[in-house]
């Protein structure tokens, strides 16, 4: 098993995920990419600034990856890259890649990782709108032990 977690100053590149999945014993590679879209809650978005608390974010995302690998039977490789600072419309804010011997496990692990990152990773986004206004997006309140039990 291998876990690669990194942060990108600006948008994530597709290739930065795929080049970190190199296990030839794995016949499945499942990817998730999150992109900045034009409209959120009825407002026209022009870009998003991402803010993150890097040391804790890296630790939390690594823990999430470890949980996902444990859930699918240990034989998985994971790469996660999250953007910080400015990401424009159509650009990627996050990339997640999971490789496993067969496809079902890679789907499951990839879904788990993105859902948990949204709930637990200390990352915030500030949306910029066409009308010139800005707003920090509402999120999920943290607590000390807010991860799902994986045993």
């Amino acid at each position: 098993m291998s876990i690669y977690v990194e942060f990108s100053n600006g948008p994530v590149e597709h290739s930065s995920i795929t080049r970190n999945l190199t296990n030839n014993a794995h016949g499945a590679q499942n990817m998730f990419f999150g992109a900045v879209r034009t409209v959120n809650l009825g407002r026209n978005v022009t870009k998003i600034d991402y803010d993150l608390f890097a040391p804790l974010a890296k630790k939390v995302i690594t823990e999430i990856c470890e949980e996902s690998i444990k859930q699918v039977g240990e034989n998985a490789d994971v790469a996660v890259i999250h953007a910080y600072n400015t990401v424009k419309i159509g650009e990627l804010s996050i990339g997640i890649g999971v490789s496993t011997p067969h496809r079902a496990e890679s789907y499951d692990a990839c879904r788990y990782i993105i859902e948990e990152i949204k709930m637990r990773a200390p990352i915030w986004k500030k949306e910029y709108y066409e009308d010139g206004e800005t707003e920090w997006v509402q999120g999920h309140a943290l607590c000390q032990h807010n991860h799902r039990e994986t045993a």
Partner: protein, 87 residues
């Protein structure tokens, strides 16, 4: 008394331009008490401060989110983390 530095993230950046805030605290202070001191700091120093954000936020070190009843680790820089929305 000891000085604790608290880094600011997310919506806390709306209220002051500094990257962090320094507070004088008792060395046996809990995270709950520091959070209250931080709320008082913002009420005094920031315009239109909404205390709801403090109630929804947690203090953390570089390695862990602190429980509200945890003693503050002396000498460590802390962070105040509002509700998160990565991805």
């Amino acid at each position: 008394m000891a000085k604790v530095t608290i880094r600011l993230f997310g919506a806390f950046r709306n209220y002051i331009s500094d990257e962090s805030v320094s507070l004088e605290i008792e060395e046996t202070t809990t995270a709950r008490e520091v959070r209250k001191s931080l709320e008082n700091y913002f009420i005094k120093n920031a315009q239109n401060f909404d205390s709801k954000i403090i109630e929804e936020s947690m203090l953390a070190t570089d390695n862990a989110v602190l429980n509200l009843d945890d003693k503050i680790p002396v000498g460590e820089t802390l962070a105040i983390l509002p509700p998160v929305c990565g991805g």
